[in-house]
């Protein structure tokens, strides 16, 4: 996840995606998807759809047996997606 953040940082800093520079819009855009997909993840964990190999996760769980890594995933990936979209738009003249 750290690599995803670092790898997409130039999109904001060099190519001018202007995603991090609109923090209010970014926060609000992520709020609903974050809640929806965290709930999905918690349900999937409780129903046994997937499990995490203990030695590859920190062992720090949030309520609902949600590994802290999953929350990081739900924060990082949508931001990377928005950075990609805004960069493509910018390069194509929107």
């Amino acid at each position: 996840m750290g690599l995803c953040v670092l790898g997409t940082l130039p999109l904001e800093l060099v190519l001018g995606a202007r995603v991090y520079r609109q923090p209010r819009r970014l926060f609000l855009a992520m709020l609903v998807p974050l809640c929806v997909f965290v709930v999905w993840d918690v349900l999937a964990i409780s129903w046994g759809h997937w499990t995490y190999t203990p030695r590859y996760v920190s062992g720090w769980d949030l309520p609902g047996s949600l590994p802290v890594e999953e929350l990081v995933f739900f924060l990082v990936i949508p931001v990377c997606g928005l950075l990609t979209l805004e960069t493509v738009r910018k390069l194509r003249g929107r």
Binding site: W50, Y52, V57, V88
Partner: protein, 137 residues
Amino acid sequence: MGTYTLLTLIGVVLVIAYELVVARTGIFRTGSYWIAMGIIGFFQILVDGWLTKLSSPIVNYDPDSFSGIRVFFDSPLEDFGFGFAMVTLTMVMWDQLGARFGDGSTVSASVVDAGETDDHELDAARGATDPSSGQST
């Protein structure tokens, strides 16, 4: 076919319906969206593959809950529906919020742009300010 398969289908349909019926940002008609999704899809293959590769999986899937179809580096096919729904919903909401909370570059750029996305971007700006569509959630 299992419950993860079913949830994925429901999730994808709901996100598409949200865009087409409620948000109506027009994002599916823009080339930039599909190009971005292609790039994101490529990186999902790598990241998801690293999480799911059967040689040393970080995430283990219950065989009865998904379709059993694994693609690329052993990623369950459903993961791509999950990713599509999550990223698309975020983008749609981002565009909905653009007119009100954007830094101005989104709307002003679309107004002066004479390219193929012009009308759709204007639709997006309208959709975000139109109380009948933007506020209904």
